[in-house]
Assembly symmetry: C3
Homo-oligomer: 208 residues x 3
């Protein structure tokens, strides 16, 4: 393996940015689920494609860490950030996949609170994609993580109200169980965005 | 931002102690749920107040880390400890909030195993509050984390027996699902106390 | 406490290896659950014995860290690896314990996908046990963590198909809930093997 002896920091920021942009593609696909007459299988398949692309980015990032002599910040933090961005994608993909596998699309429509959670995820994805290039200067990141935390609180509230609706008696027990799985993945994605932000915060604190 | 150049360690121990004392207030509120004729909405509201207070303490702690030149131990560990104490509070608040939201208080009484879990949490909170000031000297902490782990095992057993009861056929499926959510938050709170203790252990090992 | 001043690295590798070998014993016990006329209580009891043995190993490891002056790699990583190996065992034990507690053994047979998950765990355990002695030279570990991740993906797929079956209407709601708990522990064990592999990867990257 060839080692580069001067910092090739640019490649790291580039990979983080591409990973975060994939999350925007992911949440945009989830947004399509609110459209009338949506083809859920197609959404699920395209989410799987995006997820594979994210896996490749994570893999490239790890290879880059191993072949780079001087990294822009701690190797472990680069690892954490990469794997946490990947975790978000895994949860987004699971949402589409489960909706399709469980045949939940035969319901006339998904509960409103599910769409609220998708909207939160979409906003989290966009500000995460905006934040990644700022790692270069470490400036303007505080707003980002405060906003991610605020959105995660919104997501939490939407999740709780979703469960209240699921347990209200409106649906039969098996449908409730299926929807609960989807709801849990949506909520895990919200949390996963927060983990990304926490790692960015840790990096910033160390470097300041 | 003004930087203080000599260690102002006292402030850190003070914030950890206040965070842990809030957890005692939290578990005492959960204890009220065992009282006959309890007003669950009022308990839930007061838990939310305590949770907001904890958020403020965590926020103050983070600001303190960023404005302090020399911290009593690794910045990352101070972060971890602060956020883990905050996590416990989030789970305690969720218990009260879900019981209220799901209207579970209309049941004649909650299962005995739920109260056992609350008793475990109450003990964990008290010994955590006793342990925090000991971070100053790093003495007498081994007993604390051994005891937290022992209590977490008790909580685990109570949780398993609670699920056995919930799945026994005594309750209808939707009630089981609601109670399971509450049970999961109680168990997550037990685990979260253990995470706090693990971080204390890590800090002690590093400094020894 | 007596401190040893020259590296007694051997003891660490020995403890990691024994912990991983216990996981092989654990998954072999889970394999017995597929046998016709199996005595589930006996399997559960023997899993508990193995789990106690694992606890003892973890305890010995922690004592060793505290009494050793120079450790073969970062103290925190030794801690992580030890506690993550222990986590796997906790999930394996929970599987046997829950099957017994919930009386799921009165079903004519467990779903095929559950056995697929056990097969994945068995393979993960074996390659983990093979990998631990390689920590000494840090050679040949890349294959191990790639294979663990591949197996974890297999486990994930089996888990999803298991939920599809559980939610298909084949079982009543309470049986679904019980089996779901068991399924979650199986999946958590798969994940926990991946956490072990991630820590091994982190250690290798740091040392390279």
């Amino acid at each position: 393996m060839k080692f580069s002896f001067r910092p090739t920091e640019g490649a790291f920021y580039e990979l983080f940015s591409r990973a975060a942009q994939n999350l925007v593609r992911g949440t945009e696909l989830l947004n399509e689920l609110a459209l009338p007459g949506v083809d859920v299988q197609s959404v699920s398949d395209r989410l799987t494609d995006v997820e594979h692309d994210s896996d490749q980015i994570t893999h490239d990032l790890y290879k880059k860490i191993n072949s780079t002599f001087i990294t822009p910040f701690d190797r472990e933090d680069i690892y954490s950030l990469g794997s946490q961005l990947d975790d978000v994608m895994d949860h987004l993909e699971a949402v589409g996949n489960l909706l399709y596998l469980y045949g939940l699309t035969e319901l006339p429509s998904l509960p409103r609170e599910m769409h609220e959670l998708v909207t939160v995820l979409d906003q989290q994805a966009k500000i995460t994609a905006d934040a990644m290039p700022k790692l270069k200067t470490m400036k303007g990141l505080e707003e980002y993580w405060i906003e991610i935390n605020r959105l995660e609180n919104d997501g939490d509230r939407a999740y709780r109200m979703l469960l209240v609706r699921l347990f209200s008696g409106e649906y039969d027990a098996l449908t409730v169980l299926k929807m609960k799985e989807v709801a849990d993945e949506l909520e895990a994605a919200c949390d996963a965005f927060e983990h990304v932000a926490n790692t960015v915060e840790t990096i910033t604190v160390k470097e300041s």
